[in-house]
Structure formats: C-alpha cells, structure tokens
C-alpha cells in the first residue's frame, strides 16, 4: 500500500499516556485527599473536576490517535465530533439542572 510507514512507536506512546492517566485516577480515587475531596469548586469537588478533565483527556487520546480521527478530513471530523459534543452537552446540562430541581423539591419531604 501507499502509506506503508508504521506508527507503532506513537501508538505505544499514547498507550503509556492513557495508562498513566488511569493510574493517577485510581490513586486519587483510593486516597481521596481531603483538600480536593471535601472542598467545593464550581458546584462539585475539585477532585470530581480532575476526574472529568482526565476522562476527557483520555477520550481525546482514544478518538484522535486510536480511532485515527486526526487523519480524517477536517469537515468529516467536525461532522462527527461537533454533532456529538453539542448534543451531549445540551442533554447533560438540561438533565442535571432538572435533577437538581427534583432534589430541591423532593428532599425536604424526606424525613431521615
């Protein structure tokens, strides 16, 4: 085939990065440092934000490198990524706001 050069080295690099991120997540998940876990930042704990950001970093690594999104045509990439990202953010935002509303409405009715 035309593009016969191998990307093996790069693939392994991405693998090590993804593994390292997972290990960091697991260590934080086990020890849950109080400074990060019991404080609040933008609606949830900083620890949760770290987990979410690391997750998005992993998702980026998998999509761009493993699924070879970086090699696709710009507008094909956008047709897939923008559509999914926009709809997901939209749905998640609405449902989480709704969930918070349900909590504020129903929780006072529960006697512990």
């Amino acid at each position: 085939m035309a593009h016969a050069q191998s990307h093996t080295k790069r693939i392994w690099n991405v693998f090590w990065i993804l593994s390292a991120i997972t290990i960091v997540e697991v260590i934080l998940g086990i020890y849950k440092p109080d400074v990060l876990h019991l404080t609040s930042f933008l609606g949830t704990s900083p620890l949760n934000w770290i987990f979410i950001i690391l997750t998005l970093a992993k998702a980026y690594g998998i999509t761009w490198s493993f699924m070879h999104m970086e090699g696709e045509k710009t507008w094909f990439r956008r047709a897939v990524v923008w559509t999914a990202v926009f709809l997901i953010i939209y749905l998640v935002t609405l449902l989480l706001i709704e969930g918070d509303y349900l909590y504020s409405t129903l929780a006072p009715l529960v006697r512990w």
Partner: protein, 327 residues
C-alpha cells in the same frame, strides 16, 4: 426508476464505496462513524439519566468505594483495584487493535493475525471480569434491612466499619419460616431465596449487642460519609424493618438506593453487550484474515472498521468508569 435511485455511473459497485468519496472516507468507514455518533448519544442518554437520578438523590446516593470493593481470590476490601485492572485490559486490547490496523496498512498478514487474537483475548478477559463483578454485586457482601419507609439500614461496628449480618446476628430464627418451593409450598408457589435470619432475630441481636450501630443512607455532606445513628435512634429505625436485603437486584439493593442497582445493571450491561458483540465481530474478522480474504481484496479496511467499533467500546468504558466508580 432511474430518477429515484443512485446508479453508479463509473462502473464501480456501490458497496465498494462508490466512485465519489465524500470527505475522502470510504462508505463503510463513514457509516461506522455515523453509527458511533448515534450509539454515543444512546450511551450519553443513559449516563445523563443516571446523572439526573443521582442529583435527585444527591444526599443519599451509594458511595462507590463502599460498593465495589472486591478482588477475585483475595479477601479484604480493595476499592477501585479490580475495576482499574478492567480498564487497563480494555485499553491494552485497544492498543493491540490499533497495532493490527497498522499492520494491515503494511499488508502484514501474520502480524494482523496475532494482534487480532490478542484483542479478542483482551475482550474476553474484560467480559469475564464484568460477569464476576455482576456476580459479586448480585450476591452482596454484608446484608442490610429495608424499612417500611423504603430506607436501607446497614450495620457497622464501633469503628464505623460495616459488618455483615452473620457477624452479629445470634440466636434462633424463631418464626419457623421455610422456603416455599413447588414441592412443599402452599398453592405450589415458588419464592425467591429467603434470608436465613428473621427480622425479630436481627432486632433482638442488635438490642443485645451494644457494639453494633446502624448506618443510614443519608450522607454527611461535611465528611462525605454515610451517617451513623445513635443506639437509641437506631433501635427506633430498626423497629420499622420490613425486609431483609442480601445482595442486589432490580427490586432491592443492600448498598442503598435500588435505582443505583438498576442503572448499574442497565449501563454496564449495555456496555458489556457491546463488548460481547465487538468480540464476535473481531472473531469473524480474525478468521477472514487467516483465510486471506483481505489479502485477496487488496486492503485490510475491514480491520479498520471493526477497530473503530472496538475503540468506541473502550471510549464508552472510560466514561462509565469515571461516572460509576470515581466521581
């Protein structure tokens, strides 16, 4: 008719991708991407619904570290370890998949075969681990009771560590209740497994043992831990017991909210089904590689297409892992 259907006008078959390639992507690859978009939206809908429910019960949601604590063949509590292993297996199988695609670009049949095989093995290990995880979750660890107002009460020792029913319940069962089976039951009716303890037995054991305390689902938001009741308050709550809960299923859940178990089964089950079908696709492609189908076709694009699906399964797991086990 010709006005209504797409007719290949360059003498190339449509299933081969047609003549004109929008975005320079072949027909199959593009459709795989669009399928992945729709599947991603399905999974996000599930996870968003999970988020909504969790926000709704934010002050009493089960704490994942207290639910998923087991590792096969090892006693004791190791939260996160096993699920981290599963994540690692899935990432590793993603790597072997992408190495197979890479070898396919070089038309290296032998390498593609080996990497496809490794990918399949990784997938099987993952599904097996998930089955084990389900089994552990369904069987439960400690046992709890459910009150008439639908709350789960768990038992802890003086250090606040959870203990099993078997650790403190003593004495006779008392109510002479036996399991209904078709053989001996009234009206020949079956019933689910009943607990080896009776409610009265649990209450009297609690009253007799001052070292046992009761933990409710309510989370102390300052410490992010479940609230432990005083002995007196515990006794009051325990008197409302309706049901002994051991393990988790779609109706009851000893770890807390039943809907947590429902979402766990639904989302990890749907993901596990994706992994399972991914393994089947991989096996089909694996045999086609061995038979030389792609060698004759002149390219290994099919490996690339199942590869996309396989990576997507890994991608979803990354999010499931975060929102079920970490956050």
């Amino acid at each position: 008719m010709e006005a209504n259907i797409a007719v290949p006008n360059d003498n190339k078959p449509t299933w081969g991708g047609g003549g004109v390639k929008p975005f320079g992507a072949s027909y199959g690859k593009m459709m795989m991407w669009f399928f992945i978009v729709s599947d991603a939206l399905t999974f996000s809908a599930f996870l968003a619904a999970y988020g909504l429910t969790r926000f709704k019960f934010i002050d009493s949601w089960p704490i994942a570290d207290e639910v998923f604590t087991h590792v096969p063949f090892v006693h004791g509590e190791f939260p996160m370890i096993y699920v981290a292993f599963m994540t690692f297996v899935l990432i590793a199988s993603s790597v072997t998949m992408v190495l197979a695609v890479d070898a396919g670009h070089q038309m290296n049949k032998k390498k593609v075969t080996i990497y496809m095989l490794l990918t399949i093995i990784g997938g099987i290990i993952f599904v097996g681990s998930q089955a084990w995880e389900w089994n552990t979750f369904i069987n439960g660890t400690y046992g709890a009771v459910k009150t008439t107002d639908g709350k789960i009460l768990q038992f802890v020792d003086t250090n606040g560590k959870q203990i099993a029913l078997a650790d403190f319940v003593v004495g006779e069962r008392g109510n002479a209740r036996v399991q209904h089976t078709k053989g001996n039951g009234l009206w020949f009716e079956d019933e689910g497994t009943i607990s080896q303890y009776s409610i009265a037995q649990i209450i009297s054991s609690y009253e007799a043992n001052p070292d046992v305390q009761i933990r409710t689902e309510l989370i102390d938001l300052d410490k992010k831990q479940k609230t432990i009741l005083s002995r007196e308050k515990g006794s009051e709550e325990l008197a409302k017991t309706r049901l002994i809960v051991e393990g988790a299923n779609l109706e009851v859940n000893e770890y807390g909210n039943t809907i947590f178990a429902d979402f766990f089964f639904f989302i990890t089950g749907f993901h596990g089904f994706h992994v399972f079908s991914g393994i089947i696709f991989n096996i089909i492609v694996f045999f086609n590689v061995i038979l030389g189908t792609y060698e004759r076709r002149g390219h290994y694009e099919m490996v690339e297409k199942v590869g996309l699906y396989w990576h997507f399964v890994d991608l979803v797991w990354v999010f499931v892992f975060t929102f079920f086990y970490l956050v």
